[in-house]
Amino acid sequence: MTRDQRDLDELVKRLLADPANSDHPMHYALSQLWLAHRELLNRIERITHVSDAYQSIAREREMSLAERFDKQLRQLEKVARISDRYQQMMRELNIALEEASTHDVLTALANRRLLMERLKAETERAGRLQHDFCVAMVDIDHFKQVNDQHGHDTGDRVLIEIARVMQAEVREYDLCGRWGGEEFLILLPELDLASAQVVVERVRLGIRNLAIRQGTEALTITVSAGLAAHLPGESYSDTINRADAALLRAKQHGRDCLVLAS
């Protein structure tokens, strides 16, 4: 309340209280006006009070909403983070599964499933684009004797070492795989028989030069191989069969050699 207002209030109160003024014609009107004025002031005060209360409720609610929002946001972030990690885990497991389903556990070479997939794709490509490819079947000589004389652990080591040499001696885009047991298959895309022969001979000699330590002695391992070029219109199993037949002839010719399919 300002000073002027207080002074006015005091003046009115004094005038109304003075008995000398009680008969004045304006006395009644002023007293009524004074009452109405007081009531109005009271009402304004009450309204202000209620309004303040509402404001503080709204403010409290806003703050608790903000708190809840923050909590939910933190939870959401955490859910997203954990979910991402689960997905990452699944992705890695998928890759491992894919690797396991297409590769040989012992040698880490392609397994028969992957070889067949690639043979099929290569056959289709050859048919479409008139490209060459060759298939070599490679079989370890007297592998049963290695197992019998030196045990299966040594046999496994021989397989692993041979796989390593094969992988090292072929070209980057050739595919080496374990066809089964001690038999390997090499798929050589974009090569005619003569050029493929060079690669397979390199593999054969690489394996023969390998010295696998067994106690104090060094094992020498040889392989026999049959090589066939894919013929136009031929299925890949026919190509494999001809390579297999060539391999059989290599075995019959005293092993440790490469025979080309007719």
Binding site: Q75, A80, R81, I82, R85, M89
Partner: protein, 124 residues
């Protein structure tokens, strides 16, 4: 009160609630299409147990993969346990994982982060 048991399906874990022993167990993967349907009965059971049983509650979890809504559901259940723990009720979680997959242990650690009740991550 009541035991309950949900058999394992291809996309949901096996779940058992043992009221007299105070043990809730889950085994398997969880990626249901409708997580709410699956987990609201679990949530309700836990809520009722904490309210009525007056006994310690232990969760034995053998969970491998959880989809996003299952993660949220598990966090909601852990929130229930956290509140009970603050009210002085004994609750505990044992999260079991195959030692060949350490990543599951890391994920369990993420869940454990905000929990102050006993939360063990046990390799087998």
């Amino acid at each position: 009160m009541s035991d309950f048991s949900i058999p394992r399906s291809q996309s949901t874990p096996a779940i058992q609630g043992n009221w007299s022993e105070g043990v809730l167990s889950m085994q398997g993967d969880s990626y249901p299409e409708n997580s709410y349907e699956l987990f609201h009965q679990v949530f309700e059971w836990v809520e009722r147990f904490l309210q009525d049983a007056g006994r310690p509650l232990t969760l034995e979890l053998h969970l491998l993969y959880l989809n996003t809504s299952s993660i949220k559901a598990m966090m909601d259940i852990f929130d229930l346990l956290e509140a009970a723990h603050h009210a002085g009720q004994p609750v505990a979680v044992n999260w079991h994982y195959d030692k060949r997959n350490e990543r599951v242990a890391d994920l369990a650690e993420e869940f454990k982060e905000d929990c102050t009740f006993p939360f063990a991550i046990v390799g087998f």
